[in-house]
C-alpha cells in the first residue's frame, strides 16, 4: 500500500484572506486506502485547506496532485470530476427534499429526472449493501436524525464516484453512538479501497480511527505521524505548541459567599441538540472559575443561558440568591448585578455601525444616569465614554468614531470597559482575548484579576488553555455538554488536554 501512488499530494499550498495567512506553504501526502486525520485547533487552517482541495477557494500558490497527476480544481464540479467528495460540517442538503432528490441533485445524468432517479435508487441500494449505509431513499431530510442526514452527505459523494472522501468535523453534531457507527462505516470504506481525510480537533477520534495524522497549527502543517506511533500527549503538544506563557500577577483568592449558582442546567441549541447536559456548579464572590474545553462543547450555550439570552430546557440559575432561570431577560439580570462580556463582540457585544459612545451604553441604556426623561443624555453618555476611553486606554481616544474603525483589541476594551465599569457583582466572560493583541490581552487580564480582588464572582470561558490556567482559581472542564471534572490551576496542561478530549477524568 505504501508503495503505490498517493491519493492526494498537496505541494506548497498557500492562502491568504486579506492580512490573515490561513495556509502557509502546506505540504501533505495522503496514501491511498487510508484514513488520514488532520488535527488542529479552531482557526488552525484545516477547513481552509480542505476547501481549497474541494474547489471552494483557490490557493494563492501551490500544486494539487490526485493519483499522481497534477490537477487544477477550479470549482466543486472539478473536484467531483477527479473523484473528491466532501462531507461539510454544515450539511449541504435541501431540507425539504427527499434523500433521493438530494443525492440526485447535480448527478441527474440527463435533462429528465426519471432515469437518474431510478439509477440513483439502485445505486443507493447497492451502497447500503456494500458499506452498511442504509437509509430510506424516500424519507424527507428534515425528518431524519442528524446522523442519517450525514449519511446522506456521504452517499451523495459515493454516488458521484468519490474515491477520496473529506469529512469536516463530522462528529460535531453526532451523539456518541452515531459517531461510533460513522467510524464503523469509514473503516468499511477504507477497507474497500477508498481514501478518507478526516478533519477534527478531537484527539480521541484521531486515535480511534486514523492510520496517519497530520497536525496543523496557525496555518502551518507542523507534523505528520503514523497514528500507531504517536500518543495523545505528543499530538496535544504539537497542536497547542509551546506558547509564550502569559504571566498574570495574582495573589491567593479569598472566596466569599456563593454569588452564581447553576443547578442541573440543560440547554439545547437552535437545532434542538442538547449542548449543556445537566450541569451544576457554584461561583463564589472573589474567585475566578474557569471553564476549559474545546470549542463547541457547550460553553457558548452555557454562557448564553446564564446571561438570559437562551432559554434553558431545565435546571435553575441563581444570581445573588435570586433564582432567575426562567427569566430570559438580560435587562433584568443586569439589574441584579450580572455583567456579560460575550464571546463574539462583532455579532453580540457591539453594534459596529454605532459610534463608540453608543456602544459604551449597550445594555445599560436604561440606566438613569444616561437618560433625562425619555431622552438620552448625550453629554453624560459621552463624558462617561471618554472616562472609560481614558481609563482603558482605548485608541484612538475618540468616542465619536464608528466602532468598526477600532482595532480588535480596542473593540474588546470597549466591551470590557462597559461591563466592568458598571461594577457588577457577577461577571461572566467568554473568550476575553480572542483576536486581541498582546498588549490588550495583558491589560484585560489585569482588569479581570482586579475584579476578583474586589470581591466579584467571575466565570471565565476560554478555549485558550493558557488563559484559563493563568487566570482561574478553580478550573471546570467541559466536554460534550458535561462538566467532566474540577481541577486546580496548577494541573498540567496535558492532564487538562486529555480531559478536554473526553479521555480521562
Amino acid at each position: 500500500m505504501s508503495q503505490s501512488t498517493p491519493a492526494i499530494e498537496l505541494i506548497g499550498i498557500d492562502k491568504r484572506f486579506g492580512a490573515v495567512h490561513a495556509n502557509r506553504n502546506i505540504n501533505l501526502t495522503v496514501a491511498k486506502g487510508s484514513i488520514h486525520g488532520i488535527i488542529g485547533e479552531n482557526g488552525a487552517g484545516k477547513s481552509t485547506l480542505m476547501s481549497i482541495l474541494y474547489g471552494f477557494y483557490h490557493a494563492d500558490a501551490g500544486e494539487i496532485r490526485v493519483d499522481g497527476k497534477t490537477v487544477t480544481i477550479k470549482d466543486s464540479q472539478a473536484a467531483i470530476g477527479v473523484g473528491i467528495g466532501m462531507v461539510h460540517q454544515h450539511f449541504m442538503l435541501v431540507e425539504n427534499f427527499t434523500v433521493l432528490e438530494n443525492v440526485v441533485l447535480g448527478a441527474e445524468g440527463g435533462l429528465l429526472l426519471a432515469k437518474g432517479v431510478s439509477r440513483v435508487r439502485s445505486a443507493l441500494k447497492q451502497l447500503s449493501e456494500d458499506y452498511q449505509l442504509e437509509v430510506d431513499p424516500d424519507a424527507v431530510i428534515e425528518e431524519l436524525p442528524v446522523g442519517l442526514q450525514q449519511r446522506v452527505e456521504i452517499l451523495k459523494a459515493m454516488v458521484r464516484g468519490a474515491e477520496i472522501l473529506i469529512l469536516d468535523e463530522p462528529t460535531g453534531v453526532l451523539t456518541p453512538a452515531e459517531a461510533d457507527h460513522l467510524f464503523k462505516v469509514l473503516r468499511v470504506l477504507r477497507d474497500q479501497g477508498k481514501t478518507i481525510i478526516l478533519i477534527t480537533h478531537k484527539l480521541r477520534e484521531i486515535m480511534a480511527i486514523t492510520d496517519t495524522v497530520s497536525v496543523m497549527r496557525r496555518g502551518e502543517m507542523v507534523a505528520t505521524r503514523k497514528t500507531a506511533e504517536t500518543t495523545v500527549e505528543e499530538l496535544a503538544e504539537l497542536m497547542v505548541g509551546r506558547r509564550v506563557l502569559l504571566h498574570v500577577q495574582k495573589g491567593a483568592a479569598h472566596p466569599g459567599a456563593v454569588a452564581l449558582s447553576v443547578k442541573n442546567l440543560t440547554v439545547k441549541d437552535s437545532r434542538g441538540v442538547t449542548m449543556v447536559d445537566n450541569v451544576s456548579f457554584d461561583v463564589r464572590a472573589g474567585e475566578i472559575v474557569g471553564i476549559a474545553g474545546v470549542a463547541g462543547n457547550g460553553q457558548s450555550e452555557l454562557l448564553e443561558a446564564i446571561a438570559g439570552i437562551r432559554k434553558p430546557v431545565s435546571g435553575t440559575i441563581t444570581i445573588n440568591g435570586q433564582e432567575v432561570s426562567t427569566r430570559t431577560d438580560p435587562g433584568l439580570l443586569r439589574d441584579l448585578g450580572l455583567a456579560h462580556i460575550p464571546e463574539d463582540r462583532h455579532h453580540m457585544g457591539l453594534v459596529l455601525k454605532f459610534e463608540e459612545y453608543e456602544n459604551s451604553i449597550l445594555g445599560y441604556h436604561k440606566d438613569d444616569k444616561y437618560l433625562s426623561g425619555p431622552f438620552l443624555d448625550l453629554d453624560a453618555i459621552q463624558e462617561d465614554a471618554k472616562a472609560k476611553i481614558e481609563k482603558y486606554d482605548i485608541r484612538p481616544p475618540n468616542c465619536r468614531l464608528k466602532t468598526a474603525n477600532f482595532s480588535g483589541g480596542n473593540q474588546q476594551k470597549i466591551v470590557v470597559a462597559r461591563e466592568i465599569e458598571r461594577d457588577p457583582k457577577v461577571l461572566i466572560i467568554g473568550q476575553p482575548t480572542r483576536g486581541v493583541d498582546i498588549g490588550a490581552i495583558e491589560f484585560i487580564h489585569r482588569r479581570i484579576v482586579e475584579m476578583r480582588d474586589a470581591g466579584k464572582a467571575i466565570l471565565l470561558v476560554s478555549v485558550e488553555l493558557d488563559e484559563i490556567r493563568s487566570l482561574s482559581d478553580r478550573i471546570l472542564v467541559m466536554f460534550a455538554g458535561h462538566v467532566v471534572g474540577e481541577k486546580t490551576p496548577d494541573t498540567g496542561e496535558q492532564t487538562l488536554g486529555l480531559m478536554m478530549a473526553g479521555i480521562a477524568a
Binding site: S47, S51, Y54, F56, D75, S76, Q77, A78, A79, I80, M86, H88, H90, M92, L93, V94, E95, N96, F97, E101, N102, V104, L105, G106, A107, E108, G110, L111, L112, L113, A114, G116, K156
Partner: protein
Amino acid sequence: MTLTDFLLLLRDSIPGGVRLAIPLIFTALAGLFSERSGIFDIGLEGKMLASAFAAACVAFVSGSPWLGLGAGILTSMLISLLHGFASITNRGNQIVSGVAINFMASGLTAVLGQAWFGQGGRTPQLANEARFEPWEWPGLEAMDQIPVLGWIYRFIISGQNSLTYLAFLAVPISWWVLYRTRFGLRLRAVGENPAAVDTAGISVTFLRYRAVLCAGFLCGFAGAYLSIAQSAAFIKEMSAGKGYIALAALIFAKWKPVPVLGACLLFGYLDSVAIRLQGKSLPGVGEVPVQIFQALPYILTVVLLAGFIGVANPPKAGGVAYTKER
C-alpha cells in the same frame, strides 16, 4: 333578488371567473418559477403591464396576435433580466427592484402610449384578426341536450381563446418542469439552499437567471391576454393590481403549481361574482358590498400567512442574494 336569482348568479359567474383567472394563472406560475428559485418577484405587476402594452402595439402594427404575443413575452423577459441583473448580479434588494420595475412599467407604458398614439395612454382598437378570438367548438346544440355537461361545454369549454387553453396547459407543464426535470430539481433546490447547489458543482447565478427568465416568459402571456385577448387594446394601468393578486394566489397556493390553479380560479371567481353582484341585494342579507369580494383574496392570504390555514413556508433562501462564504 330571490334566492334562485342568486344561485343563478353564482352559476353564471363561473365562465367570467375562468376568464378573469387566466392572467392570474400565467402570472402566479411566473412568480412560482422565480420565487421557488429564491428570487422574490414583486415586479410581476409591472411585467404584466409592460407585456400587455408591447403585445397591443405589435399586434396593432403587424395585425398578428402571435407576433403581439411574442413581443409581450420578449418585453417581459427583458424586464426579468433587469430584475436578475439587480438582484442576482448586483445583490440588490429584490423587493426594491420589483417596486422600481412596477413604477417604470406603469410610467413607460403610459408615456410611450401617449407619445405614439396620443389617446391618453390607450393603444388603438385592434381589429378582430389582430386578437386572440374565442374558438367556437362544434356540436354546441347537440351538447345542450345534456344537462349540466352541456352548459359546461357551451360556456366554459367552448368559446375560449387560444391563450386560455394555453393557461390550463401551462399548469401541468410547469408542474412537470419543476418536478420531473433536472432544471426543476435544481431550481427548487436553489431556492431552499443555494450552498447545496453550489457544492454540487452547479452555478447558482446561471440557474437563477434561467428561473427569472421563465418568470418573464410566463408573465408575457398574462400581459398579452389582457390586451389582445380579453380586450382589444392596451388601456393605461390595465393590469390593475392583478400582479399582486397573482402573488397572493401564489402564496395562498403555498408555492405549488397545482394549488396555484385552484387559488387563481377561486380569486378569479370571487372577482367575477363581485362584478355581477354590484348594486344587487341578497335575500335576507341586503346589499353585500362588492369590496368584500375584492378584498377577500388578500384577507385570505394574510390569514394563511398568519398560520391559521396550515403553514405556508416560503422558499427558505427567498429574498437573499447568494454569497459564496462560509
